[in-house]
Symmetry: C2
Subunit: 372 residues, 2 copies
C-alpha cells in the first residue's frame, strides 16, 4: 500500500503543481512547510498556521527525542494529538541537527553517537532507531537518517564516502520501516558533484521510497551548481513521486527550485528573519528595525493579506522589536510565513496558467532590492 | 462637558455593575484592564484582546515616554492609531514606574527627576508634563501624577507628607488638563492610615475628577486593612463616579474589591504568572511546569472557553514552557487573561442577579487550592 498518493495536475516547463494525499489531509504542491522545532513554530500557534494557509508543518526528531521524548508524544496521540496541529506533519531524521547542535559527535557505520545537548548523556541514533522514533511520533512523512557532511560541498572524496554510507543507511531504514500509515522519504547526497548526485539518486530510487529529498544543499554552492545538482538527481528519480529540497526558504531560492520541478520545501528563514526584523515584501526586503521606519504608518507590505499587515504599521513593528516585546517577533513571523505561503499559492496558480517564468523572474528581481 | 458618562445598572450589597462610556467605546464594569506596557500585552495582539473580551487596556506613560516617545505616537494617531487597539485606553501617570524602575530618582515639590533607564539622561516629570504627555498619547482616561511611597504603608508620617504632596500635584494636574475628549482620574493616597485615606479622598473629590483611583495598595497590607482603606475613601467619593483599584489582579483580590464597590482594575499578574507557568483555573491554581503534568492530556482548565484550552493540553503547555518556546508564554497568557476577563463577566452577571456573595466566596475558596 502506498500511503502517499500524488497526483500531478499541471506542468509549466519543469515546474509542476499537484496534490499529495496524506493520512491527515491533502497538500497542494509546491508546498512550504513551516518549521516547528519542538512541535511549535516560534510564537505561532496551530490555529495561526491554519489561518496563514499552511497545509503541512515540519518538526525536528532530534529535538523531540530529547524533549519531551517520543514515548510521551506517542502516549498523547502522536504529534497531531500532542501539538494541536491536526494537518500533516513531516519529521526530519535528526541527522543534520545532531551534527550541528550536539557535542562530541562520532559517526561510524552503526550510526551517530553524541552527547545530549540537554543533559550531556551519551546517546546513539541509528538508521533503525530514527525510523522507530518517527513511527512513535506518528508523522505523515518520515525521513531516513543520512550522513550530513557540510564540507562535502568542497571535498568530493569526503562527499563520496558520506553518499555511500547514506545509501547503506537508507537501505537499513527502508527495511526497518513498518508503519503503513506513514510515508518514508529517501535523501540524495553527494555534495556538489553532479556524478555523485546522479549515482545517489539512482541507487536511492532503486530502494523504492515514497518521495525523495535533495539533502546537503544551501551550504554555499552557487545557484548554477545547485540547479545542476537538482537536475542530475531528478533525471534518476521517478517523476510521479514528490521531490523535496531540504532547508532552503528564501523567496528567490524557492522559485528557482520550483522552476526545476521541486515540490516541497522547509526552512527557518521566514521566522528567523522575522525575529531579526527582516521582512519579505512585494517590493523587496525591508529591515523594519531601521530608523527610517520609526514614523512609517504603512503596513509592512501594503499588498499583503496577513493579520499583521491588516492591523499594524511598520512604526509599531519597529517599536516592538526594539523594545524586546515578543509580540514583535510574532507579528513579523506571521507576516513572513504568510508571504512565503502565498508565494506557494501564486506559484501553483502561475504553473496552472503556464505563466510561472514571469513569477520566478519577479521574485528573483526582488532579491536584490533591499529597502532600508 | 463630562467625557465619561457612567450609568450604574445594578447593586448587590456594595458591589455594583454599570456602563462607562468613553470616546472609544463602552466599558462594562466591573472591568479588568490588561497591561500593555509598551502599547502591547506581552505576546498578545489587539485582535487577541478583543477575542478574549477585553474592553479597555492600560499602557504605561513612563515606558512610552522613553520609547518611542509621545511625539511619535501622537503623529501616528495616538495610542489607538499606533498600537492597533482601537478600544479605550487608560494611561497611568508613570509615577509608580519611575520610582520602581528609574535610577537616581529625586522627588521634590516641582516633580520627579530621574536618570532614564534607557540612556541615562536626566529627565523630569511634573504634574503638568505628565498631563501633557498623556494628552499626546490620546488615551481615553489619564491619571494624575502622585507621589508613590511604598514605605508609606508602615510609616504614617511619611504617608501624610506624600498624601499632602499628591494632593497639591493633583490640583496642578487638574488645572493643566485641557483635552476635552479625555477623562482625568485623581488618585487617593495615605498609606494604610484610614484617616489619611479619608482626608485624601475628601480633598481629591473636592477638586472634581472624572473618576478616582485607590493608589498605593497591594503593598503588603492585610485584606482587612485594604478593605478599610477602600471603604474610608469611598465614603468621601461621589458614588456616581467610577472607582479604580490600581495594580491588583489576583482573582481573590478582584472579587474582594468588587465586593467593596470597586469598578476598574489593572494588573500584570495574569500575564506574569502565565510566563512562569502559573495558571488560574476553575479548580484552583496549577503550576503547569511541574512534572505531574508531563503526560496530562486535559486542557489547562476543562471549564474554560479560551483558545488555549480549546486546543492544547497541560502536557503541551508544560513542554513549551520548559523548552523556552515563546508560544508557551503566549498560550498561558491568553488563558489567564481570559480567566480574569471571564471573572469580570461572571461578577457583572452575579451582581445583576443579586448573587455576588456566592461568586466571591467561591473564588476566595479557590485561592487556597494549589494543584501541583
Amino acid at each position: 500500500m502506498n500511503p502517499l498518493p500524488f497526483e500531478l495536475q499541471a506542468q509549466d516547463g519543469d515546474a509542476r503543481t499537484g496534490r499529495l494525499t496524506t493520512p491527515h489531509g491533502v497538500i497542494q504542491t509546491p508546498a512550504f512547510m513551516p518549521v516547528a522545532t519542538y512541535g511549535a513554530v516560534r510564537g505561532v500557534d496551530a490555529v495561526d498556521l491554519e489561518n496563514l494557509g499552511a497545509e503541512i508543518a515540519l518538526s525536528n526528531t532530534y529535538h523531540l527525542h530529547e524533549r519531551p521524548g517520543e514515548t510521551v508524544i506517542e502516549g498523547l496521540g502522536g504529534l497531531h494529538g500532542f501539538t494541536g496541529w491536526h494537518r500533516p506533519w513531516l519529521t526530519d531524521s535528526g541527522g543534520f541537527q545532531i551534527t550541528s547542535l550536539a557535542d562530541r559527535v562520532k559517526v561510524d557505520e552503526e550510526g551517530v553517537t553524541f552527547a545530549s545537548a540537554l543533559d550531556g548523556t551519551r546517546r546513539q541514533l541509528t538508521p533503525e532507531s530514527v525510523v522507530e522514533i518517527q513511527a512513535a511520533l506518528g508523522s505523515d512523512i518520515a525521513m531516513v537518517l543520512d550522513e550530513c557532511v557540510p564540507e562535502a560541498v568542497a571535498d568530493p572524496a569526503r562527499a563520496a564516502l558520506a553518499q555511500a554510507r547514506s545509501l547503506r543507511w537508507a537501505e537499513r531504514a527502508r527495511r526497518s520501516h513498518v508503519r503503513k500509515d506513514q510515508a518514508l522519504f529517501g535523501i540524495i547526497q553527494g555534495g556538489s558533484s553532479p556524478a555523485l548526485r546522479r549515482e545517489s539518486a539512482r541507487e536511492t530510487a532503486a530502494l523504492g521510497f515514497d518521495g525523495y529529498a535533495h539533502g546537503g544543499l544551501g551550504l554555499g554552492e552557487t545557484n548554477d551548481a545547485r540547479r545542476e545538482a537538482i537536475y542530475e538527481a531528478q533525471g534518476e528519480l521517478p517523476a510521479a513521486r514528490p521531490r523535496y529540497l531540504m532547508g532552503l526558504g528564501k523567496p528567490e531560492d524557492l522559485v528557482r527550485a520550483i522552476g526545476c520541478g521541486v515540490d516541497l520545501f522547509d526552512c527557518v528563514v521566514p521566522t528567523r528573519h522575522a525575529r531579526h526584523g527582516l521582512l519579505f515584501t512585494s517590493e523587496g526586503q525591508i529591515v523594519v528595525r531601521n530608523a527610517r521606519f520609526a514614523t512609517d504608518e504603512r503596513a509592512p507590505d501594503p499588498n499583503c493579506d496577513c493579520p499583521t499587515c491588516a492591523r499594524h504599521s511598520r512604526a509599531f513593528l519597529r517599536h516592538l522589536l526594539r523594545s524586546g516585546e515578543s509580540l514583535g517577533a510574532r507579528l513579523a513571523s506571521l507576516h513572513n510565513l504568510r508571504f512565503t505561503l502565498r508565494l506557494m499559492e501564486r506559484a501553483r496558480e502561475a504553473i496552472a496558467r503556464g505563466q510561472f517564468a514571469a513569477l520566478r523572474d519577479e521574485i528573483i528581481g526582488l532579491a536584490d532590492r533591499r529597502l532600508g
